[in-house]
């Protein structure tokens, strides 16, 4: 059984309780502001105090953050109050009912994994551009009208097809390069 030292566990716990109490304080403050906001003139005044009036639309995000933090902290808090406190080497191990841990997770990884990640990124990001293009192309080819962007750029379906062909051609250059360079071979 691989054992984590008790001192580490204790310090973790101490640190954890500090974080929890800090979070509780923060949540209390948020709640106070929330109540103030609801009771008075709504979010606009509260956000206006913070800085620009342009922060107003972010009020909803603040509520979501508040809910998220209070749920997380609440779960931890309830568990802390309800659970039995038993200590011991087994309890402090990383996986109490699992395999004993072997070594540190912070070790060197083979550089090939990074290469795979890079190759994945290339073809993953490509899709981000393909989706909006597909929608625009669908619209242009169905109606026969050129697509006009807010910037004043207009393109018919033929132009769109040509533009995507150029884009894919550039990607294919990269693909051909990595293939010939042997980046796709594991050994």
């Amino acid at each position: 059984m691989v054992v984590v030292g008790p001192s580490k566990a204790q310090s973790l716990q101490r640190y954890g309780s500090g974080v929890v109490s800090g979070m509780v304080l923060a949540v209390c403050r948020e709640l106070r502001y929330l109540m103030m906001a609801w009771s008075c003139d709504g979010f606009e005044r509260y956000c206006g105090v913070m800085g620009e009036s342009s922060l107003v639309p972010y009020g909803a995000i603040l509520v979501v953050i508040g809910i998220a933090v209070s749920m997380g902290v609440g779960a931890l808090l309830i568990a802390h109050l309800v659970r039995p406190a038993r200590k011991g080497d087994v309890k402090d191990s990383t996986y109490e009912s699992g395999m004993p841990t072997i070594g540190d997770a912070r070790q060197r990884f083979n550089v090939r994994f990074y290469l795979i990640a890079l190759l994945f990124l290339l073809f993953d990001v490509e899709v981000v551009f393909l989706w909006p293009w597909a929608l625009a192309f669908f619209k242009a080819s169905k109606t026969g009208e050129p697509i006009v962007t807010t910037g004043g750029f207009s393109a018919g379906s033929g132009t769109l097809l040509g533009a995507m062909a150029v884009f894919v051609a550039f990607l294919l250059v990269g693909f051909a390069y990595e293939w010939r360079k042997g980046a796709l071979e594991w050994d």
Binding site: G151, G152, F153, A155, G162, V173, A176, Y177
Partner: protein
């Protein structure tokens, strides 16, 4: 506007990128003859881009989304592409077989990124263009040599570059938050220039954004306190690539700063003026003083590169005076100087790469000792380039410094920042004198040292050709500065709407200057110098 507008306006960049793709593909060919084609392909691509700039590269009124083609864009395109030719020549034989395709492909990509930076009219395009310049240079440093020093330099450069890119992007996010748009300048749509036109429009967020963006770009130009990587990276990379590092990322950083100050109409809060003032003074002084302590020529030139960024920042602080020419127009003086610096720096590093000592790069003063007795042509070229770096007539570097300092002292005396700019110019002149001490050590080693080291010239005809071009350009631009000064003057016409102004223009006298000198100068096109 249609796809044809894109094709014509972006034709120089398209030529470069297509050339880069072909270079990449030839790099993985199984045929050794095809693999060695990368350098000629890159050279042809740059020539094609120059032809495209000459034919289609005119400033136009219609804006493509995210792009704007002004007189500044054209100027940057010309100087970038003209410097790219000797750059490719110097690097011609550098990469080993099997890496030539990547090397020249990346070099072309970096050049294309620089011309796109000059055309960017959107924060996102600006960021992407700057990264397109920087990312290939990290790899070029690693490809330039096979030893571990180059890898170390490359990794250092990459991590610090990534950090600076993050700071830059963070600053841009503040600018976006303050203005609600990423568009820099536009006649119709909401844009940053309208939001920041006055100091009042510059909110706290806008100021923070500008500060962070300037910090991120300080890394690219190698300004203090983000200069620490410069000597290590310059020393680690092979000399031909080092010549490239002194031009491409530096110019990209300066162009981006010009773009950001243009959207403020050159009226920034006092805090930013004093920040840039302090950075300029420190950059000059720290660069020159630390260069004094070096015996390695590459490190010496690296610190000199830091110091030169300081000189160029003076021009930036003075700001544009439309139509006045580089004697009064700080930006025109800076644009003149940056091209001259690119060439003379490349020339000095080309000399180092043309010599080798037992297969190693020529790096120390001792390696250069008595060069004039061994290879007089190389020694003369080195002396011309170093005199130009020092700012000694009859070279273009002298004129560059004269332009920068005279633009600083010619600011309207009614201006609040008249005096600080004069003080800065004085600091610059003192620094030029300090710099002469270490530049003269290079000259004296070349001319007077005893010829004991056993170097054999290498690098062949291509390096010599580039070196000849750089040194001749230094002399030619001294005799006929209007060749470069006139384009530099016209390049600043697109930078403000209200004519003459300095970074301090809003304080006093800015308005008066705008109505009299600026507009009149812009219309009549003042004297060339």
């Amino acid at each position: 506007m249609t796809i044809a507008d894109y094709a014509t306006q972006l034709s120089p960049e398209l030529a470069l990128i297509v050339g880069a793709c072909i270079a990449f593909l030839t790099g993985v060919s199984r045929n050794i003859a095809t693999r060695s084609l990368a350098a000629p392909i890159a050279f042809t691509a740059v020539l094609a881009a120059i032809a495209a700039t000459a034919i289609y590269g005119r400033p136009i009124d219609t804006q493509l989304p995210g792009l704007q083609f002004t007189t500044l864009t054209q100027y940057i395109r010309w100087i970038t592409l003209l410097t790219a030719l000797p750059l490719i020549l110097v690097n011609w034989k550098l990469p080993v077989d099997g890496e030539r395709g990547e090397f020249f492909g990346l070099l072309l990509t970096s050049v294309a990124g620089l011309t796109l930076t000059a055309a960017a009219n959107d924060l996102i395009v600006l960021f992407l263009a700057i990264e397109l310049v920087s990312v290939p240079t990290y790899i070029l440093v690693a490809l330039s040599r096979t030893d571990t020093r180059a890898s170390e330099a490359s990794v250092k450069y990459f991590f610090l570059g990534a950090l600076s890119a993050a700071i830059f992007a963070y600053g841009l996010s503040f600018l976006y938050g303050a203005a609600g748009t990423t568009l820099l300048i536009s006649d119709t749509a909401p844009n940053l220039a309208d939001s920041f036109a006055s100091i009042q429009g510059m909110t706290l967020y806008g100021t923070i954004g500008l500060l962070l963006a300037f910090a991120g770009l300080s890394f690219k130009i190698g300004a203090v306190p983000f200069h620490a990587y410069v000597p290590d990276v310059y020393e680690g990379a092979a000399s031909p690539v080092t010549g490239l590092l002194g031009f491409l990322p530096k110019l990209a950083g300066f162009v981006a700063i010009i773009k950001l100050l243009t959207i403020c109409n050159w009226n920034v809060p006092d805090a930013i003026f004093w920040l840039i003032w302090t950075v300029a003074a420190l950059t000059m002084t720290v660069g020159n003083v630390l260069a004094l302590l070096q015996t390695n020529v590459k490190r010496m030139l690296a610190y000199s590169s830091v110091a030169h960024s300081g000189y160029m920042l003076i021009g930036l602080l003075v700001g544009p005076a439309i139509g006045e020419g580089p004697m009064h127009d700080g930006i025109a003086a800076m644009l003149f100087y940056v091209f001259v610096y690119g060439l003379m720096n490349l020339g000095a590093f080309a000399v180092l790469s043309a010599l080798s000592n037992h297969g190693e790069d020529c790096e120390t003063l001792r390696d250069l000792s008595g060069l004039i007795r061994r290879t007089p042509a190389l020694a003369i070229a080195m002396v011309i380039c170093v005199f130009s770096l020092m700012g000694f007539p009859p070279t273009a570097g002298f004129l560059g410094k004269v332009y920068i300092f005279s633009s600083a002292v010619s600011v309207d005396p009614a201006n609040t920042f008249h005096q600080p700019l004069i003080i800065l110019a004085v600091i610059g002149v003192i620094n030029s004198a300090i710099a002469a001490a270490y530049y003269l050590r290079i000259v004296s080693a070349c001319v007077m040292g005893d010829s004991k080291s056993e170097q054999e010239p290498r690098g062949g005809a291509y390096v010599r050709l580039a070196l000849g071009a750089c040194s001749l350009a230094m002399i030619l631009l001294f005799i006929m500065p209007s060749l470069l000064a006139n384009p530099a003057r016209s390049a600043t016409t697109s930078l403000t709407e209200s004519g003459t102004t300095t970074l301090a223009g809003a304080q006093t006298g800015g308005q008066a200057g705008a109505q009299t000198g600026g507009q009149a100068g812009a219309q009549t096109g003042g004297p060339p110098l």
